[in-house]
Every structure is written in C-alpha cells, then in structure tokens.
C-alpha cells in the first residue's frame, strides 16, 4: 500500500479544459471519494490516475514512483468499471485470472488468490459461469474480485454502484465498507451520490466545474462546507439559502436580516465582507419548528413530509422565499398553518457573492 500524490494535474481536450491544477495527497489505506455532479471531471481524474487518460500537465505519484507517464498496468492500480467491463467470453475464474496470467504468475498461486478472493466475496459457486449468467450484483462482485487478486497499491472504483437497484446498492455499499476495513487498501471511489460519499469516505473530495471545491472528512464537508456549492451539494434535504438584506454587529457576532426577520448567527462580524450579495445558509436540521411561537422566522406551511423519525416542513416565509424546516416525528402540523422557526445560530453559514463560506466559531 502506498500514498497517492497529485500535483497540479491538468487536463484539456484541445481548447476545452476539463481539469485545472488539481492537487491532493491521499494517505495509504484511506477511502477517498470523488464527489461531484456529472461533467465535473471526477471520472476523468480517476482515469488519469489509472493511466487511461493522458495527463497534460502536473505529476502523479504512487508510493515513491512518479507514474503519470507509465502505462496503466505498471502503476500498481486496479479498477472497477461502472459497467464492470468483464470479459464476456471468459468464465468468472478466467476473468479473475487473466491479469495474473499476463504477468506470468505461477499457476498454483493464481488458483490460490482467485479462490481466496472468491471466498471473501462469496462467489465460489459462480467461478465456472460466464458474466451473461450472472445478476448485476454478482457481476459487481466479480469485477471487485478481479481487482483484488492483483493485490494492487490502490483500488479505483468508477461509480460502481450506479447500475444496481436501490436495495442492492445499500447492501453493496455496506459490504464495500466492510471490505475496506478488512483489506485496508487505498480506495478511490467516484460517485455523484452524496449519501454514498458520506457513508463510505474517510475523506471526500468535492469537485465542481474542473476544480476541487473542498477536501475533508464527511463531517467537515457537511458542517463546515468550504463554498456555497459544497453546502448545496452535500446533505439531504439540501441546505436552505436566504438572501441577506442587512448585517449588524451584535457583540462581535453577525446578526443578519434575511427572510424578513433578524437572525442571530454565531459568525464573527469582523470576518465578513460588506452586506452586498451575502446569502445565509441553514440546514433543515438546524432550523427547528418553535412550538411556542418564539422563533425568529415566521411563515405559512406549504407541504408536510412525514419521514417517521422526523417531519420535514416546507414553509413559505413572509418575503416569499421557501425553506425546509424540521420537526419531531409525531408533529401535528398541517399545510396552511402559520408556524414559527428557530434557526440554530451556531450552525448557520454565510456565503459571500463569490461563493466563499463563513462559519460560526
């Protein structure tokens, strides 16, 4: 196992730039997730690490070797493709053995590794079958098995769960986490699903528009998003954003006027730029319904979504903006009722016109 270092890696197709000066340091054994919307460059970056796309500028190091000019097979990485890319004419055993045969691994050793991996992934009964005879989940396991037998420095996984149905996806996600705990390998996982990123990652790399927006642990990314984009992309339901019309200094902390009311935040006033173009961000779990009517924001309920353990309340505020607030699971609220909301000042965020984030504390 080895560290992976990217140093100002750039990629363009002709005049079209797809990645600009991406740098990061992935520590050995980490589970890194590249998270971002379609077209942000996350898959391209993964393919560049794999050696399937050329690197225009910058360097990639795996362990103590610079690899960006090496062919894919000399980089010590294994990849699991979105559509699995199993060899359709080979049995599962042949699929898993192919890479080892190509580098002249001893026959007994190949058998041992293939059977070990098959036992770990519980696909031993499938070894003599062909991909066409397997279900989606089974193909997925074979693709992972093909990567495991090569004992690579790092596993690269390109949206490996996106072709599975919802139930299987959750189960496979858990199994992937267990697999990572067991083999302690460096894994890089690409996804556009923030739930997958939050649940699997040791660190998330949030990408948007050719660049890295933030690198951090799931909780860092969730509670201290580096930009408005990250704040909006991570978390479900999404963060509420309200335009700020005025800010005031209240004992060193900022008190902002938004949604027609004044809200006390825990954010240092001195750090903020002028009031122009500021946005207040508050997640639904930090915007609770105040049953006694003492909240600082008031509005009329539009829709009530009951999730059992909690209730999401869509509220139209006095100035017409719509926010999602949270209430207890046994909430008695109904659409059309007037409601009072209390934001948790310590969990509010302010975003500048450039998208830059300011946090409490």
């Amino acid at each position: 196992m080895a560290d992976i270092v990217l140093n100002e890696v750039s990629k363009s197709y002709g005049a079209v730039s797809v990645l600009e000066k991406v740098s990061m340091h992935i520590k050995s054994g980490e589970f890194i997730v590249f998270l971002g919307p379609s077209g942000c460059g996350k898959s391209t970056l993964l393919r560049m690490i794999a050696g399937l796309e050329a690197v225009n500028e910058g360097e990639i190091h795996i362990g103590d070797r610079r690899v960006d000019q090496l062919p894919p097979n000399q980089r010590g990485v294994a990849m699991v493709f979105q559509n699995y890319a199993l060899y359709p004419h080979m049995t599962v055993r042949a699929n898993m053995s192919f890479g080892l045969q190509n580098i002249g691994t001893d026959k007994a050793e190949i058998t041992r590794r293939v059977e070990d991996a098959a036992r770990m992934l519980e696909i031993v009964p499938l070894l003599e079958r062909r991909p066409a005879q397997l279900s989606g989940g089974q193909r997925q396991r074979v693709a992972i098995g093909r990567a495991i037998v090569r004992e690579p420095e790092a596993f690269l996984l390109d949206e490996p769960l996106s072709n599975l149905d919802a139930g299987l996806r959750v189960r496979t996600r858990v199994e992937l986490a267990q697999l990572h705990n067991r083999i302690k390998a460096t894994m890089i996982f690409v996804t556009h699903d923030q739930t997958e990123a939050m649940t699997l990652a040791s660190r998330i790399v949030v990408m948007n528009n050719r660049r890295i927006e933030q690198i951090g642990t799931p909780m860092e990314v969730y509670s201290r998003p580096a930009s408005r984009f990250v704040a909006a992309f991570v978390g479900s339901p999404s963060m509420n954003f309200l335009a700020v019309t005025a800010i005031a200094d209240k004992g060193g902390r900022a008190a902002v006027t938004a949604g027609g009311s004044v809200i006390d935040t825990g954010i240092a006033f001195g750090a903020l730029p002028g009031p122009e173009g500021l946005t207040l961000g508050v997640r639904p779990d930090a915007l609770r319904v105040a049953a006694d009517g003492s909240g600082s924001l008031t509005g009329k309920i539009d829709i009530v979504e009951r999730l059992g353990d909690r209730t999401l309340v869509h509220v139209r505020l006095g100035d017409g903006s719509l926010v999602v607030a949270e209430d207890a699971g046994n909430s008695l609220l109904e659409p059309g009722m007037d409601v009072s909301l209390r934001p948790d000042g310590a969990a509010t965020h302010i975003f500048g016109a450039d998208g830059r984030a300011y946090h409490a504390g």
């Binding site: 794999a50 399937l52 990485v77 294994a78 493709f81 890319a85 190509n102």
Partner: protein, 303 residues
C-alpha cells in the same frame, strides 16, 4: 366470468386477424418464391434424371446422367479448379478483411468513413467493369502490373491470364480486391460491438497488443468470422463471372469451374439433362459444405 369470456373471444378474433394480416404480407413473396425458385428447382431435379436437350422433353434415364458426369474428365477438372479457387479466396479474403477492419477501426471520425468508403467502392462495381479495369492493369503489353512482373521474370512480361498456373491466383486476387469491402463492413460492425471499457480493463490487466487481439478481439468477433467464412464459401463455390471473362479467347477448359461446366453443358452442348445433374451435384456440395462449416465454426466459438 362474462368479462373473461368476452375477452377470450376478442383475443381469438385478434389472433385470426393477425393470421390474415400475416398471410397478406407474406403472400406475394411466397407466390413469387414458389413460382420462380421452388418450382424450377423441382423441375431441374426431375430434368436431371432425363436425357433431354436444353428445351423440350426427354426420356427418363434414372441415374445415368450422374454416372456419366462423375466419370467425365472435364467435371473432375472443374471440381478441382473450383476447390483450388475456394482455397485461394475464402480464408485469405477473410484474413485480409479482418486486418483491414482492425486498421480502419483505429481511425476516427471522417477519416474512418473515407477510408471505409475507399475499401467498399469496388464492391459496388459490376463484374464487367472490374474485369475491364484489371484486364488493363495486368495487360501483357502496357499493364502497370507488368513492371512488377518483369522484376521477377528477368525483365520479360508474362500474360497472367494466359499462363495456366498464374490464372487462378490472378483471378483470386482480383476477386478478393473486388469483394473484401463487404467483409470489412461486417468486421467493423463486429468490432464496434466490443465495449472500449473491455480493452481498458485489459490494459490494466497487463495484456499487450497481441494478447488483447488473441484473447479478447479474436474470440469476441468469432461469430462474425464464422459468418464471413460461410458467405465466402457459398459465393466462391458458385464462382463463374470472373473466371469466364478472364478466360475468353484462351483455353477455357484448362481453367473451367463448376458453374462454367454447367453453362457449357447446357448452352454450348445443349445437354439439358446432364447440365441439370451437374447443377444438382453443385447444389448438394454447397448445402453440405456450408452447413458443415457453419456448425463446425459455431461449435468452435462456443467452446
């Protein structure tokens, strides 16, 4: 229950209607196919057992025609010439087509379309044009090919179509040039069916160029190869036009092929019965060989 019964009768009516529609749609084809193919074939089979001229009735002679033809020296010559031609064209054409398809498949965008069109162009030419073009190219006095021929013949030109050992290889070469476009097209379609991700997986699996071809491309396009080989086999067993055209004015019997032999019996010697027997023999050969070959190739692919 009433609803179910109604539905059933409705479905029954739909079924009947479907049969009627199907009959109307395939009717014209079945009629024409029956009148112009099945009926004449039966007539020919019957004709082969009679001592008849090309036109008009003849006496029933049983297997006499077959016995006579199978002992005919010219039939043997035609058989071996055809076999030689098949050997010279079927597998070489398939291999050359595959090689060209692999090369063309590496090109991108308009370049691929252009090069593919270049290879396909000869295929749309009629055989007479192909014959005239190549007759000029290989002409013994002013043909371009003679510059190459002279290099191997001490500076002397040779007529490629009047020198018996060179005749079949020359015609085979022209045939491959003429027909490979279609095979290239089939192979390209087969190659495009292979997902690029599979090659990416293979490159991560340390498979070099040759391993990728021998372990991935070749097995995955084997069904197309089997198809191309079978189409080729049938087409080349029926070879006539090129061989006939290139041998006009020469000793035709030395390079005679089976269809040419049938033509000679029927239209030059007015032996309708014997020509029909020869045609039946060729018909049988093509059926047996192509079914045998296709089954054999399919079995290999499934292994």
């Amino acid at each position: 229950m009433i609803v179910a019964g109604k539905e059933a009768s409705h479905m029954l009516r739909d079924k009947r209607q479907e049969y009627l529609t199907a009959l109307i749609l395939i009717g014209p084809f079945v009629l024409i196919y029956g009148a112009l193919f099945v009926w004449p074939t039966i007539q020919m089979a019957l004709l082969s057992f009679t001592k008849a001229p090309l036109i008009g009735p003849g006496d029933w002679v049983g297997w006499d025609n077959y016995v006579k033809i199978l002992g005919h020296r010219l039939f043997h010559a035609a058989f071996w010439n055809t076999a030689y031609f098949v050997l010279l064209t079927v597998i070489p054409n398939t291999l050359v087509s595959l090689a060209i398809a692999l090369a063309v498949n590496r090109l991108k965008g308009w370049q691929q379309g252009f090069v593919l069109a270049c290879f396909f162009l000869p295929y749309i030419l009629p055989v007479s044009v192909v014959f005239l073009t190549w007759n000029w190219i290989i002409d013994v006095q002013y043909g371009l090919v003679q510059y190459v021929v002279r290099l191997f013949n001490g500076g002397q030109p040779i007529s490629l179509t009047r020198t018996i050992p060179l005749f079949m290889p020359s015609v085979a070469f022209v045939t491959i040039w003429w027909t490979l476009g279609f095979n290239v097209l089939l192979f390209i379609a087969g190659l495009r069916n292979i997902s690029p991700e599979i090659y990416e997986a293979a490159s991560l699996d340390s498979a070099g160029r040759w391993r990728q071809f021998s372990r991935i491309t070749w097995p995955l396009i084997w069904p197309v190869t089997a198809l191309v080989l079978t189409i080729q086999l049938i087409a080349q067993l029926k070879i006539f036009d090129q061989v006939y055209l290139f041998s006009i004015g020469g000793r035709q019997d030395a390079t005679i092929v089976l269809v040419q032999y049938i033509y000679k019996l029927a239209f030059q010697q007015n032996k309708g019965g014997e020509a029909a027997s020869a045609a039946m023999l060729l018909f049988g050969m093509i059926i047996i060989l192509s079914v045998l070959q296709y089954q054999l190739l399919r079995a290999r692919g499934q292994k």
